[in-house]
């Protein structure tokens, strides 16, 4: 608000006031002109008055002269000779001097005139005196000297001068008045035209700028409606400008709100995607768990079948023996009984014992698997070359007995739990040694496959029996034994390895060709990318989770 300069009202007033000032100036000029005209008229009257006065003076003098002549001719006087003029002339002269008092030239001339008239009056009074005394001839002679006539001529000249001067003044004044009137008319017309033009221009400019900005506003409102970017705000600080700025502020607020909404939407979408992913993972995990339970129940039931079947067998043998011992034993029956004990009892017992051992080892394996998911990792930088050499050293016996060659390349160190990492490589190396093909000399290579910014991929390659393509997908599942007869085991080794690698944020996979060999790849992320960093705390928490869930989650790897 405080930034606002001229408001629309102020602009309007300004537009009205500019011609008003102009008109006021014209009015002043008009008054001035009127005053001049009045003055000119007054002066014209003044001139006339002067002329009238001098005419009257002349007339009085002429009357006086005529009376004097008449007296000389001894004509009866109509009036007291010279009396009238003698009395009126001084007044008339006074009137004249008052009238011309503003003009020094006229003042001088009229003073001169007054002197002349006084002389003439004096001369006239002299003649008059002669006549009255009866010295007519002297009077006539005196008058014929021409002094009176000369005075009269001078008076006439002076009067003429005054008259001409007054008339000239009058003409000059009239001419000046006409000039100013003409100029004034010009100024008036020009002023009016200019006034109208200025008002028109001001109104045009105002409406133009207001109209343009109102159109801009309309355009901006449409843009808001359409969601387009607004035209730049005008800097004019009036109401329209303010409205425009308000629109911009509103549009900005609207855009901000929309942006927030979009962000919100994106966040929600992100969460949704995360949920979907989590859901998918859970579904997969659930399926894996089902598979795991299926697999475990199968493996647990297999020894149970033996336990049931062979205990049943033992029952049958017991019945047979009971029947045998119901009669007195002869030599043949004794022999039969001993054979039964020897064969039909020892054999089931062996199977039952095996089944019990098998059950026990399965349960042990499950516990190991559970522990693999729970054990707290202590991640450090692990010198893998040292680890591999230690494993190879421990396997020296079996490697030698299979006459295998283990070749360890330069290993870059990795970051993780040393025990878990040793367990992973030990499992892979033991498998490689165990499943070598006895038909050819065994060669096992260990090394770095690939190293990039994210992590390192190691490999353990053998030229052993290999794995059929159909079995590769099940390779890391629990209780999958592909070469059951070749080496003993419960089928949890690779499941454990996979579990450990995944807990390191890594991955394990295999490529194999049956009869040619197998390559296992293990990928570990670098320290900076390892989930163990962040997961350390969390794992301390999960370590207290109930066993079954942990066990299922840990082992249902495929």
């Amino acid at each position: 608000m405080t930034r606002r300069g001229l408001s629309l009202l102020q602009k309007g007033l300004l537009i009205i006031s500019i011609p008003l000032v102009f008109q006021l100036a014209l009015l002043v000029l008009l008054f001035n002109q009127q005053r001049r005209q009045t003055y000119a008229q007054e002066m014209a009257v003044h001139t006339k008055e002067v002329i009238v006065v001098v005419d009257r003076i002349l007339e009085s003098l002429l009357v006086m002269q005529a009376d004097l002549r008449g007296e000389m001719l001894q004509l009866p006087a109509t009036i007291e000779p010279g009396g009238e003029a003698e009395h009126t002339l001084p007044d008339q002269l006074q009137e004249l001097s008052a009238l011309v008092s503003d003009n020094p030239e006229q003042v001088a001339t009229s003073a001169n005139l007054a002197t002349l008239i006084e002389s003439r009056l004096r001369w006239s009074a002299e003649i008059h005196g002669m006549l009255r005394d009866g010295r007519n001839a002297q009077a006539i002679a005196e008058s014929q000297k021409g002094e009176g006539a000369s005075l009269m001529r001078q008076i006439r000249d002076e009067i003429g001068t005054i008259r001409v001067r007054e008339e000239a003044l009058d003409r000059a004044r009239l001419a000046a008045l006409a000039e100013t009137t003409r100029r004034f008319q010009f100024v008036l017309i020009a002023g009016l035209i200019l006034d109208v033009a200025m008002a028109a221009v001001a109104i045009y400019l105002l409406t133009q700028s207001v109209g343009r900005r109102v159109r801009l506003l309309t355009e901006n409102v449409n843009r808001i409606k359409a969601g387009d970017p607004l035209l730049p705000a005008t800097s004019v600080p009036d109401e329209v400008g303010e409205l425009d700025r308000s629109f911009h502020a509103m549009a900005a607020a609207l855009a901000e709100a929309q942006r927030k909404e979009r962000d919100f939407q994106r966040t929600i979408e992100g969460h949704n995607a995360e949920l979907t992913r989590a859901n998918h993972e859970l579904k997969q995990k659930n399926q894996e768990n089902e598979m795991f339970v299926y697999s475990v129940s199968h493996d647990l039931r297999s020894p149970l079948v033996n336990l049931q079947g062979f205990s049943n067998e033992l029952g049958i043998v017991r019945n047979a023996l009971t029947e045998l011992f119901a009669q007195p034993l002869d030599e043949a029956a004794r022999g039969r009984g001993l054979r039964m004990i020897e064969r039909d009892i020892s054999e089931p017992i062996t199977y039952i014992q095996n089944a019990v051992t098998r059950l026990s080892s399965i349960i042990d394996a499950l516990l190991r698997l559970s522990r693999a998911g729970r054990v707290e990792y202590q991640p450090v930088t692990v010198d893998l070359e040292l680890v591999i050499r230690r494993i190879v050293g421990a396997l020296r016996g079996s490697i030698a007995s299979r006459r295998a060659d283990v070749r360890v390349q330069a290993m870059t160190p990795t970051w993780g739990d040393p025990t878990a990492i040793e367990q992973i490589f030990a499992n892979l190396l033991v498998n490689a040694v165990n499943y070598l093909d006895s038909a050819r000399p065994g060669v096992i290579d260990v090394g770095v496959e690939k190293q990039d910014d994210a992590g390192t991929t190691y490999f353990v390659r053998d030229n052993g029996l290999g794995i059929a393509a159909a079995h590769l997908p099940k390779l890391f599942s629990v209780f999958q034994r592909l070469h059951e007869k070749v080496a003993p085991g419960e089928g949890v080794g690779l499941a454990l390895v996979r579990r450990a690698a995944e807990r390191h944020g890594g991955r394990i996979w295999a490529e194999s060709e049956e009869g040619v060999g197998t390559t296992f790849y293990v990928y570990f992320p670098h320290e900076s990318a390892s989930p163990l960093q962040a997961a350390l705390k969390k794992e301390r928490l999960t370590a207290t989770s109930p066993l079954p869930a942990e066990l299922v989650g840990a082992a249902a790897a495929e």
Binding site: Y294, H298, V305, G309, E484
Partner: protein
């Protein structure tokens, strides 16, 4: 009347299971010949070996599902895919009764599905009835004589 004893080929990786099946069949007297294969591969080798005699009408295959190398399902598929062995009745044996697996076995053409641990009386009975059935269907081909 007891049917003619059958020739049984058992594919089973668990020695104990194989032992139990053999014992019970022998005790019941429904078998005169018993052959054991320790996995699917061995069974197929046995059936499709070079110069192997075609199996007689009195042969029945007992097939465990969970076996290393070639499992029971794959072995069943190959047996039913081969004209030479397609006619042999197959009884599937398994430790679980997962319906998906049961369906899969039947869709591949197995004749009977028996879940372990077997109540051997019922098992033997099934084998016996199968033998009887085989004898009945065999009769027209043997010219109607007994």
């Amino acid at each position: 009347m007891n049917p003619e004893p059958l020739k049984i080929i058992l594919a089973e990786d668990d020695d104990g299971h194989a032992h139990l099946v053999q014992r019970n069949l022998e005790r019941a007297g429904v078998v005169n010949s018993f052959v054991r294969a320790s996995d699917g591969q061995e069974l197929l080798d046995l059936l499709f070996a070079e110069g192997a005699e075609p199996e007689t009408d009195a042969t029945v295959i007992l097939l465990d599902i969970n076996m290393p190398r070639i499992d029971g399902i794959e072995a069943l598929r190959q047996i039913k895919a081969n004209p030479a062995t397609r006619h042999i009745p197959v009884i599937m044996l398994t430790t679980t009764d997962d319906p998906r697996e049961v369906d899969r076995c039947y869709s591949l053409g197995c004749n009977v599905y028996i879940t372990k641990p077997v109540a051997y009386e019922a098992f033997i009975d099934a084998i016996r009835r199968l033998g009887l059935f085989l004898e009945i269907v065999r009769k027209p081909r043997s010219g109607g004589g007994t």
